[in-house]
């Protein structure tokens, strides 16, 4: 999941709008309990995901993850659902079959469990897809800028920026250290080998990172870094953002209203 350098409607939204929308979806996920409502929420998030026109590979990966999760939760909930009432739709081991049935309490598939599993995954997918939408449509530093303008201290924002910035370098470095270990005859095959390599890799990586951190600190000093900064990019909350949030809020209201009336 990475930022997509495109110019869609979602890209032009203020990062704060997207953070707020994310919060609203989080509330809905907790509050909504009825299947149609959760379906509509998922549908709405799916539309946003579609607007981004993600690459085929991304869609494929997402589908695989979601299907696996769905099947797994549905089966596990189906078998282990404990709340009454529950309807048995399939029996593998009846509670009446001798001592085995006694110990296990019977192994049966419950209809309510399957539905509950499906709804749980639907909640998870809405959250997952929406985070994907935010990450793919907002440049990381803009997202941080949004959070900063909503009250997160600038120093913390800077720490996060720097950590993200150095992830690729760290990965590369680990690869090089591992290779160097192999060239010196360290057997890195198997679980034990992996542990051996890891045990050797970590101190080297940490010492090197600390050395690097010192250099970074000096470089930040000579660039006048004090923790207080102005920003080139000014966030502006435009009409577009208000409209989007308005529609989003109306939708949220309707979904909750629907649930109150429906139940």
């Amino acid at each position: 999941m990475k930022y997509l350098d495109k110019e869609t409607f979602l890209h032009r939204l203020d990062p704060r709008t997207k953070i707020l929308a994310g919060l609203m979806v989080a509330i809905l996920i907790v509050v909504l309990r009825n299947p149609p409502g959760l379906f509509m929420l998922f549908g709405a998030v799916l539309v946003l995901f579609g607007i981004l026109r993600p690459a085929g590979s991304t869609i494929k990966a997402m589908t695989i993850i979601m299907l696996t999760t769905l099947i797994f939760t549905m089966t596990s909930q189906g078998f282990f659902y404990a709340r009454e009432p529950r309807t048995v739709i399939f029996t593998i081991l009846s509670p009446a079959t001798g001592s085995l049935g006694n110990i296990t309490g019977g192994i049966e598939l419950y209809r309510e469990g399957i539905i509950y599993g499906a709804l749980q995954s639907l909640r998870l997918f809405s959250a997952m897809l929406l985070s994907a939408v935010i990450v793919m449509s907002t440049y990381p530093s803009d997202l941080l800028l949004g959070m900063e303008s909503m009250g997160m201290p600038q120093r913390i924002g800077f720490i996060i920026t720097i950590s993200i910035r150095f992830i690729p370098s760290l990965a590369e470095e680990s690869k090089r250290i591992l290779l160097a270990q192999r060239m010196r005859g360290l057997n890195v095959k198997g679980v034990r080998g992996w542990f051996r390599a890891f045990y050797r890799l970590l101190p080297t990586l940490i010492i090197d990172s600390l050395r690097n951190a010192r250099r970074i600190a000096l470089a930040a000093e000579v660039r006048a870094f004090t923790g207080k900064r102005t920003r080139l990019k000014e966030l502006n909350f435009s009409m577009r953002d208000w409209t989007f949030l308005g529609i989003f809020f109306a939708g949220m209201f309707m979904l909750i209203l629907y649930q109150v009336v429906w139940s």
Binding site: D5, Y139, P140, S141, T161, I162, I164, R165, P168, S169, E173, R176, I177, L179, A180, Q181, R182, M183, R184, G185, L186, N187, R200, L201, P203, T204, I207, D208, R211, N212, R215, I216, L218, A219, A220, E221, V222, R223, A224, F225, T226, K228, R229, T230, R231, L232, K233, E234
Partner: protein, 454 residues
């Protein structure tokens, strides 16, 4: 105007001063080169000018420093940064943002300038440094040369009058270095004051208004001392089968492009071979193919009589030194570091002998990461030699070393070759290549010349 008057500085906890009685005057718009061995005080001198001394490094000092009418110790560091910009050696650790244009704006944002002004300065700086076309590129994807250019651009946007460079091109290839001369020239034309610390300064000499030699923390009165020449070598035997034989080798990281294109080369036992060429010419890739790290897509490869060898079959017989020694030191003490390779291979080794060759007897029980940069490089090489490989392959072994460590390394490799070993190394340093018996030059994945000297 920069003026130092009998300035003496001692680092906290140090016994002797790092700078001693240094007096110096630099006029606005002058371009000054500072040269000298490691530990001669070059970097310390720069730190006094940009305020890192005494704001970050405490310690004791006497004498005076004046910069354009102010005294660095009286002004907070972030205000000094408006007047004095510093570019360090390591390009990686001077980049803070994920996108080129954001990084150029970083310094100005720290100066708390209004957004419009930041945008104006950023764009001006991007154009001036020739980064405009790649302004939206991700910083970690840039080459070393461009990273360094970005670091200058980021400083330039802060519009200081004085630019300090601390070995800015040590990590760059010859192309990046030529590029860098252009940058210094541009700054000079803009009327900026430039102070440059550099080991490889030959190419810069025409630009310099003044050259300062430093020695043991003082400004030396005479020219830099004459270089020791390395010992002469014995001739190599040509009758044995080759150590490395490559035929029609092709290699690429992905399907689209070949990094190595039709490489044919034979290296005999006892040869000392340098591979030269710019970054991206494929020399590091070729070295990795020779050591079994990468397997070629096409072609025949024979190393020490093994056809198409896998990495595991060469471990212990072919030693590989990666660019950064710090990533190759894993043990808890210098002694254990030397034993590490042989122990993994269940071989016995004479630690005392190797400690002596390396000149690290006194550091025997120190942690490898606590010894100096040059010593770490020597230790990394010795740790490979302790495995008694038949071939040693080194990727840019001379990067970042001062003359002393440099000559030590070359002498070690000469001794190893004299004992029948084969050495292959890559370098973008002409001086280092001259020590090899054979120089192979690469350009865009091909071998363009193969000369045997001496």
């Amino acid at each position: 105007m920069i003026a130092l008057d009998s300035f003496t500085y001692t680092y906290p906890g140090a016994n002797c001063p790092a700078l001693q009685d240094v007096s110096l005057k630099v006029k606005p718009g002058e371009v000054v080169l500072i040269r000298g061995a490691s530990g001669s005080g070059k970097t310390t001198l720069l730190y006094c000018l940009n305020g890192l001394i005494p704001h970050v490094f405490a310690g004791t000092f006497c004498g005076s420093v004046q910069l354009n009418g102010f005294v660095p110790s009286d002004v907070p560091l972030h205000d000094i940064a408006r007047k004095v910009g510093t570019v360090f050696q390591n390009p990686e650790s001077q980049i803070f943002m994920m996108r080129v244009e954001d990084d150029v704006a970083f310094g100005c944002e720290n100066l708390c300038l209004p957004g419009e002004e930041i945008g104006r300065r950023r764009d001006e700086s991007l154009r001036f440094m020739g980064l405009w076309d790649i302004r939206r590129k991700e910083t970690f994807k840039l080459s070393g040369g461009y990273k360094q250019r970005l670091a200058v651009s980021s400083i330039f946007a802060m519009q200081p009058d004085i630019f300090l460079f601390d070995e800015p091109t040590t990590d760059l290839d010859s192309e990046g270095r030529e590029d860098f001369i252009g940058i210094i020239r541009k700054l000079k034309e803009k009327g900026k004051t430039v102070i440059l610390v550099e080991h490889q300064y030959e190419d810069y000499l025409p630009l310099m208004d003044k050259i300062i030699d430093m020695e043991g923390g003082r400004i030396a009165k005479h020219d830099a001392s004459a270089k020791k020449s390395p010992p002469a070598r014995r001739a190599l035997g040509l009758s044995e089968p080759p150590a490395i034989a490559l035929k029609n080798i092709r290699f690429g990281y992905d399907r689209q492009a070949d990094v190595l294109n039709d490489i044919n080369v034979m290296i005999r036992r006892g040869e000392f071979v340098a591979f030269c060429g710019n970054n991206g010419s494929g020399k590091t890739t070729l070295l990795k193919v020779m050591s079994g790290i990468f397997r070629p897509r096409r072609g025949d490869i024979t190393i020490l009589n093994i056809d198409k060898p896998a990495l595991e079959s060469l471990v212990g017989r072919v030693g590989f030194l990666f660019q950064n020694p710090d990533e190759q030191l894993f043990a808890a003490t210098v002694e254990k570091e030397i034993v590490f390779g042989p122990a993994c291979l269940h071989r016995k080794t004479n630690v005392d002998k190797y400690l002596e060759i390396a000149g690290l007897q006194a550091k025997r029980f120190n942690h490898p990461q606590t010894i100096s940069r040059g010593q770490r490089q020597i230790l990394a090489v010795i740790s490979i030699m302790a495995m008694e490989p038949e071939i040693i392959i080194l990727d840019e072994p001379t990067t970042g070393l001062d003359d002393t460590a440099w000559h030590k390394l070359i002498a070690l490799l000469y001794d190893y070759v004299d004992c029948g070993g084969t050495v292959v190394f890559s370098t973008h340093n002409e001086k280092a290549a001259a020590f090899a018996g054979r120089k192979i030059t690469m350009y865009r994945g091909r071998i363009v010349s193969d000369e045997i000297s001496r």
